[in-house]
């Protein structure tokens, strides 16, 4: 472990070395030893020297011939898994399959740019390949399975307002290195240091297959995962592989306690959903056994069987120590995420990621920009004419403009209902429960139509996106359960947040409706303003924004008696005004159904 853990400080900064950077480098090196086995690493960092240093380290540790493929976030499924190779097909006169990115990366690395923006469908394709070790093509008349074993480096810009990488990939990758706190200076490692590290990796890779891990190691890793509330069995398996990689890097023939502790720290800390009690569960024997007790002796069998030994504590402690300090507060918020702020310069991206409609067949058509050539149908249209068109001695397929077929999409816009709910003290607590009921009822109905629901709650000083747009009842229920109430009424912030979300969704090709539920008694100003007296003015200004943006909205006045102030707010918003003093879930739902 000399070189591995007690590495000289990479930045040369002595006492102020950043533990995030040291851990990040460790994770990167372990990943480089066994990329396919450890499946991947998430690098949370802004583009810059820190991220580049990590990428350079991985790249130089890979064999010369190993592929290194970059994958843009908006990659098309056909490019990812392959399909028909148009050029080759036309040349050869018979269908030629084209390898996709997943197959091309076999034996190497896929670098996912802006991984947090990778759509679910793409993430699922990558996950399937990670799982099965092959990329299967069943499209465009091609059926083939290409070997595809690779590791992913998911670049996550680490912006707090972005959703993280798709959960089905997060579950499958071993590491998440959060380098957002690492300063550029700290990352400036001497190049020879990086070289030494990279050079050690291939040797470790050859040792890897022979590294053994005792039962007590498996036991300790499984126990630690369970104690940290990590349900997926992939986590202890990945930790076991990481521990082997650590032992291999260390030149050790077997996994020792320190390797397991390191693996637990790097694999478990970012997945933890619960904090174990400070003290390890009291055992009959004294817990203060000397830590230098010999490990891994054959005689330890009975100890491992009892479900707890000193090594368990060491491993758990290592993972626990590395858990981010804000985990508890994050858990208490039960997944509540900060509002996405409106950002400029990204509208192009939103349009590109527009939910594509369902393909409803093809038609004869010209190739213009914006149309999608349906390769397979074009070739099928050309096929019958080949004997007539083909010149003697040529195998070339003759395609005429007449044969072009373009795909027609039927884009059914999905509607999203954004509930903006006043969760302040002036709203009775019972009211909040009714809203929760209404959201659930609406969700239950909306998944028949495949519509989505989102919920923004505003209370105290700010507005929070409690339920991001979803059609999962399970998810919404879980998020709603932790919604607290009380505090002031930052009405302006609530309206602005809903408008920002609605506009973002509209750019994605969805049709949003804002349902604002409040008693209209604004008393908290916008954060930027600062004058409490202006709370009402602020709210009116925010309301005008909604009207300007021509967003569909319903204002549900939940105060006991309808008030002129609320009606004015509604008309400034361009919203339908519905007084609903005794809103119950069913009544609310009836109102919303009439909105269309």
């Amino acid at each position: 472990m000399r070189d591995l853990i007690e590495q000289p400080d990479p930045g040369g900064g002595g006492p102020n070395r950043n533990p995030a950077w040291a851990d990040g480098l460790l994770a990167v090196r372990l990943f480089a030893v066994d990329p396919a086995g450890l499946a991947g690493i998430i690098l949370r960092a802004q583009p810059g020297p820190v991220r580049d240093a990590c990428l350079a380290l991985i790249r130089s540790a890979m064999p010369e011939s190993a592929p290194w493929r970059k994958m843009p976030a908006q990659v098309e499924a056909s490019r990812l898994i392959g399909g028909l190779d148009l050029a080759q097909t036309l040349k050869a006169g018979r269908p030629v399959a084209e390898r996709g990115l997943l197959a091309e990366a076999n034996g190497g690395i896929i670098v996912m740019a802006m991984a947090e923006r990778v759509p679910q469908g793409v993430a699922a394709l990558i996950a399937q390949a990670l799982e099965s070790g092959e990329a299967r093509v069943e499209r465009d008349g091609v059926a083939h399975a290409f070997p595809s074993r690779f590791g992913i480096v998911a670049l996550d810009e680490g912006l707090p307002e972005d959703e993280p990488l798709a959960a089905l990939l997060r579950d499958r990758v071993a590491f998440c290195a959060d380098l957002t706190s690492v300063a550029t200076g700290e990352a400036a490692s001497p190049p020879d240091r990086l070289e030494t590290w990279a050079a050690a990796v291939p040797a470790a890779r050859t040792r890897l297959a022979r590294v053994v891990a005792g039962d007590e190691i498996v036991q300790a890793l499984c126990g630690a995962a369970l104690a940290l509330g990590i349900g997926s069995l992939r986590a202890p398996l990945l930790a076991l592989r990481a521990a082997r990689a650590a032992a291999a890097l260390d030149g050790s023939p077997r996994v020792e306690e320190e390797h397991a502790a390191l693996a637990a720290r790097l694999v478990f800390s970012w997945r933890a959903t619960a904090l174990p009690p400070e003290e390890a569960p009291a055992k009959a024997e004294s817990p203060s056994e000397p830590p230098d007790e010999p490990q891994g002796e054959p005689g330890l069998g009975d100890d491992a069987g009892s479900g707890g030994g000193p090594i368990d504590d060491v491993v758990l402690e290592a993972a626990r120590a590395a858990i981010p300090p804000d985990l508890l507060s994050r858990l208490q918020q039960a997944g509540i995420q900060p509002m996405p702020r409106a950002r400029s310069g990204q509208s192009g991206m939103a349009i590109k990621s527009r939910a594509k409609g369902r393909p409803v067949g093809t038609r004869r058509g010209e190739l213009r920009s914006g149309t999608r050539l349906s390769l397979i149908d074009t070739l099928r249209a050309a096929a019958p004419w080949q004997p007539l068109r083909r010149r003697p001695g040529s195998a070339r397929i003759e395609v005429r403009p007449d044969d072009f077929r373009v795909t027609r999409f039927k884009q059914r816009t999905q509607s999203v209902t954004i509930f903006a709910v006043d969760a302040s003290g002036s709203q009775a607590f019972a009211r909040l429960a009714e809203v929760k009921g209404a959201v659930e009822l609406l969700l239950a109905e909306s998944y028949v139509r495949r519509d989505q629901v989102a919920l923004i709650a505003f209370r105290g000083q700010t507005a929070e996106l409690v339920v991001p747009p979803t059609r999962s009842l399970v998810r919404a229920k879980r998020l709603l359960a932790g919604l607290p109430g009380g505090g002031g009424t930052p009405l302006a912030a609530g309206i602005e947040a809903s408008a920002a979300l609605a506009e973002a969704l509209r750019r994605k090709g969805l049709s949003p409706t804002i349902v604002l539920m409040t008693d209209g008694r604004a008393n908290i100003t916008r954060p930027s303003a600062g004058n409490r007296l202006n709370a009402v003015e602020d709210a009116l200004a925010a309301a005008r924004l909604v009207k300007q943006a021509q967003l569909a909205a319903v204002f549900i006045d939940t105060s006991p008696r309808p008030r002129a102030e609320a009606q004015r707010l509604a008309s400034e918003m361009g919203a339908r005004y519905v007084p609903l003093p005794y809103a119950d879930a069913a009544a609310l739902n009836a109102v919303l159904k009439r909105r269309a």
Partner: protein, 341 residues
């Protein structure tokens, strides 16, 4: 072909394993849906099932896996006039066809054979995934992420047992009877309720919470990954025994009897739960019979009903979003009332 983790070595998740075995004994059960947490071995179990199934007889060279010696339900070629006389038989593994996300409709239902059309100018049908899955299993991982029109298409074919293709000037119909197996994670999007009750059995898998089981699962998986062939060899006796049990259960299935009293109780259970239609009741009985056959018994007992009721009925209950109690609890309650404890 990569080595496949053996079914008998799967630790825990008894309900999921039972549902898969029931579907293997009684394909008429109408599909299995496995929904649950990540990292619980859903896909592993289904791939393992493929390797466990005893091989079957097909007409040699038939693209549709037609059974030799059958007189009905054959594809056009095997039933056609050219096929006079006995057809040569071949033994093949039961197909478990993996439907990858991103599959296009032409590959699923079959389409014009491009190669033959381009090179020889012939109009021929190239069978798709549905043809390959005939008499076997069709597995869709992340079924909740599959495009809607493909799911509709699959359910339609699964229900009718026949694939009808009308495209590109082709008019083809061929038998396509398969057990649909879907898996997914509800947090990524729920399945439409219309789809839900098309599946015969539905199992919710949860994270293993027992430490010793978890340790066992990780150890076995790790041992398998480090030495697949050694591991398979080690588990061969258990795997063979399970396969023999499966075969015996299939042979016994037709002779398993259901007493009137058990039939009555099954009906009462469905009534008290308010499951719509007969499909639930039928599935419940079929599953109970298959389970009795698997356990080597000749009669369906209340114990069998009780074991399969959650999987057969759980997804058919009317959803009440405001009811916090899961469907499992409601079934438990109804069973306690109807069947006694």
């Amino acid at each position: 072909m990569a080595a496949v983790f053996p079914f008998s070595a799967l630790a825990g998740q008894e309900e999921m394993k039972r549902a898969l075995l029931i579907a293997a004994v009684e394909p008429a059960i109408g599909g299995v849906l496995i929904f649950g947490d990540r990292g619980t071995g859903k896909s592993t179990a289904i791939r393992a099932l493929a390797a466990l199934l005893p091989p079957m007889q097909v007409v040699a060279g038939c693209a549709y896996n037609c059974p030799p010696g059958a007189s009905a339900g054959l594809c056009g070629l095997c039933a056609g006039p050219d096929a006079a006389g006995p057809l040569a038989a071949a033994t093949v593994a039961v197909p478990v066809v993996d439907m990858p996300l991103g599959a296009t409709e032409d590959r699923v239902v079959g389409a014009l054979d491009l190669e033959r059309a381009l090179t020889r100018g012939e109009k021929a049908f190239e069978p798709g995934l549905l043809a390959r899955a005939h008499r076997g299993f069709l597995y869709i991982d992340e079924v909740n992420l599959l495009e809607d029109h493909l799911v509709d298409l699959l359910l339609d074919v699964a229900a009718s047992g026949e694939n009808v293709v009308e495209r590109e000037g082709l008019s083809v119909r061929h038998p396509a009877r398969f057990v649909l197996i879907g898996s997914g994670n509800p947090e990524e999007g729920e399945l439409r309720p219309q789809l839900l009750d098309r599946f015969g059995l539905s199992v919710a898998v949860e994270t293993l919470s027992d430490l010793s089981l978890r340790v066992e699962a990780v150890k076995r998986r790790d041992a398998f990954e480090r030495d697949p062939h050694g591991f398979l060899e080690e588990w061969r006796p258990q795997e063979d025994a399970l396969r023999a049990r499966l075969q015996a259960a299939r042979a016994r299935l037709a002779s398993v009897s259901v007493a009137d009293e058990v039939l009555m109780q099954a009906s009462r259970l469905c009534l008290s739960l308010g499951t719509d239609g007969l499909r639930g009741e039928l599935t419940l009985l079929r599953a109970a019979r298959a389970l009795a056959a698997l356990e080597g018994e000749d009669r369906v007992t209340m114990a069998h009903l009780r074991q399969v009721a959650p999987a057969a009925l759980g997804h058919r209950l009317r959803r009440n979003p405001l009811d916090e109690a899961g469907s499992g609890a409601r079934i438990e309650r109804a069973m306690a009332e109807v069947l006694g404890t």
